[in-house]
Amino acid sequence: MAFSETLDTGRNASALRSATRRKRSQAQLIRWLLLFAGGIAMVMPIIYMLSTSFKYPFEVYNLNLIPEEPTLENYTYVLEDGRFFSWFTNSVVIATITTICNVLFDSLVGYVLCKYTFPGRYIVFIAILSTLMIPTEMLVIPWYLMSSTFGWLDTYWGIMFPGLMTAFGVFLMKQFFETVPDDFLEAARIDGLNELQIWWTVAMPLVRPALAALAIFVFLGNWTAFIWPLIVTNSQEMYTLPVGLTTFSVEAQVEWELIMTGAAISTIPTLIVFLVFQRYIIRGVVMAGLKG
């Protein structure tokens, strides 16, 4: 009697266990399906962009993924168009300079706010953070007035100046500098380095993962920026890529295949930037894991 009872509970337990296992694998399946759907939703536009860039105009509105008559003509057209090359250069120059400036200035300000005590430090920090609450669209008008007063319209400087420092970057870097122990800085101070050297040789290398993240973020943000470059530029040769690509549509109705081709080409630098800096991010995570 007692024996069969134990057997029974044993069976019940294993039934229960397999039930929970089934439930768990169902949850897993649902999770997987959701991720898959999300992945599709994100990748589809990119696939269509690529596929359209290989299509002739007559095929653009057929939603087939594989072009019936694949062609490279769009690429030759876009690349031989001199304007595309200058837009591309403009974008590279602007995004690169802005990224470098952000990495330097945001981390300088973040470092000072994090590692030094001075009267008004908190107020300065709050003031910087509060600018995050103002949307770009609202700032565009004062920026424009400023640019036109100083004669910055239609120049690189005019396109770049609003983004050379970002409040978000300052905030990010300040938070990351909290992870750098004060001992590290004091040791360098005793060894005779000045404050700028300490920042550059000790603190900066220790927050490299954050710098890489910031660099990717800023580069992508500036590479795809549209509204401000559109407003501040007048002449076609000062356009950035996103602004320039839209001219394909205005001139000869909407030439989607050319826009998609330009867009496809313009993703290449973002991929390169991401691949280069991603290594640092991963290495940073690994390093943090090994510490201690």
């Binding site: 122990p181 001992d183 590290f184 004091e186 040791a187 360098a188 101070r189 005793i190 060894d191 005779g192 380095l193 050297q197 000790v202 290398p205 220790l206 490299r208 390093m287 090994l290 510490k291």
Partner: protein, 352 residues
């Protein structure tokens, strides 16, 4: 090599004063250990010497010059931190050489210097490694190497061994002491561990609540503690402390017993504390100072510690390791007259 002297050194953070006038003269080449419970102001003192904290009042002199307003780098001192403060993104060679960044030596001279230091610390084979490929003890040695490479006037150590396990700590203690004997620079070493202080110091500075309690050789602070705090802080297990009142030629202890003491410096009815180190209070044959029942024994090998109930107070005494008493035994406790310490119960000061 340089002497370091602190005169009436004070430090306040806002309204809270954490150092109340520190006076200390450290001779050139001396190994001085600042010891005291956590929060007593050891690190603050050290950081003020290094120039990392501002002086609120008083003077710091290094080699005779007042350095109160000098930058850390102008003071020619080196500091080893508790967390080593070696840089994870630099190789061992770079870390050790970091102290030479601002020096005017040529690259070859710098490398020769790094190699020399690495040789002394037995780090030669590790020079190209990154800190995360080193053990705790090796990292500690890199931190010391980085301090040594500049040949500073004085080394400052802030609890450099507290992150190491017990065995490694003992070993590094010895290595630092040997290093001092070899290089001979002035060393100011901070720790909360009285064993570290006793084993390494030429002179020990015992601190409490921002005041110096006693300055002396390990021998002096152990055998002639200036007050009850020092008596109980130095030595493990802690000194037995029995309170009582002077009655005639003896002290009547609150636990009901009485003890004969030299009473020349005592006055009738004075409240005193009688201190007896466990290793000077011996379990033995015949009539002794006290008699009591053993409640716990702790065998340590050579000796056994016996917790003995004397009156209503438990004292720790030393018994033989080979033939220890058993729990429940009634034993006699003996002490040599010179092993009895007397303190004024009100002021805590030693009566000698």
């Amino acid at each position: 090599m340089t002497n370091v002297s602190l005169s009436n050194l004070k430090k306040s953070y806002g309204k809270t004063q954490v150092l109340h006038g520190i006076n200390l003269d450290i001779q050139s080449g001396e190994f001085v250990v600042l010891v005291g419970p956590s929060g007593c102001g050891k690190s603050t003192t050290l950081r003020m010497i290094a120039g990392l904290e501002e002086v609120s009042a008083g003077d710091i002199r290094i080699g005779g010059d007042v350095v109160n307003d000098m930058e850390p780098k102008e003071r020619n001192i080196a500091m080893v931190f508790q967390n080593y403060a070696i840089y994870p993104h630099m190789s061992v060679r770079k870390n050790i050489g970091f102290g030479l960044r601002t020096s005017k030596l040529s690259k070859d001279e710098k490398n020769a210097r790094i190699d020399e230091v690495a040789g002394i610390l037995e780090l030669n084979d590790l020079l190209e490694r990154k800190p995360n490929q080193l053990s705790g003890g090796q990292r500690q040695r890199v931190a010391i190497g980085r301090a040594m490479v500049r040949d500073p006037a004085a080394f400052l150590f802030d609890e450099p061994l507290s992150n190491l396990d017990a065995q490694l700590r003992t070993q590094m203690r010895l290595e630092i002491k040997k290093l001092h004997q070899r290089v001979g620079n002035t060393i100011i070493f901070v720790t909360h561990d009285q064993v570290e202080a006793m084993t390494m110091a030429d002179r020990i500075v015992i601190m409490k609540d921002g005041h110096i309690q006693q300055v002396g050789t390990p021998f002096e602070v152990f055998y002639e503690p200036a007050n009850i705090f020092v008596a109980q802080f130095i030595g493990a297990p802690s000194m037995n402390m029995l309170s009582g009142t002077v009655k005639g030629e003896a002290v009547a202890l609150d636990n009901g017993t009485s003890i004969q003491v030299p009473t020349t410096k005592l006055s009738e009815d004075q409240k005193v504390a009688v201190g007896l180190r466990p290793d000077a209070l011996l379990v033995g044959e015949g009539e002794g100072l006290f008699t009591g029942e053993v409640s716990v024994i702790e065998p340590l090998g050579t000796d056994t510690l016996a917790y003995v109930k004397v009156g209503d107070k438990e004292v720790i005494a030393k018994a033989s390791g080979r033939t220890p008493p058993a729990v429940g035994d009634v034993v006699n406790l003996h002490a040599a007259p010179e092993a009895i310490h007397l303190f004024d119960a009100d002021t805590g000061e030693a009566i000698r």
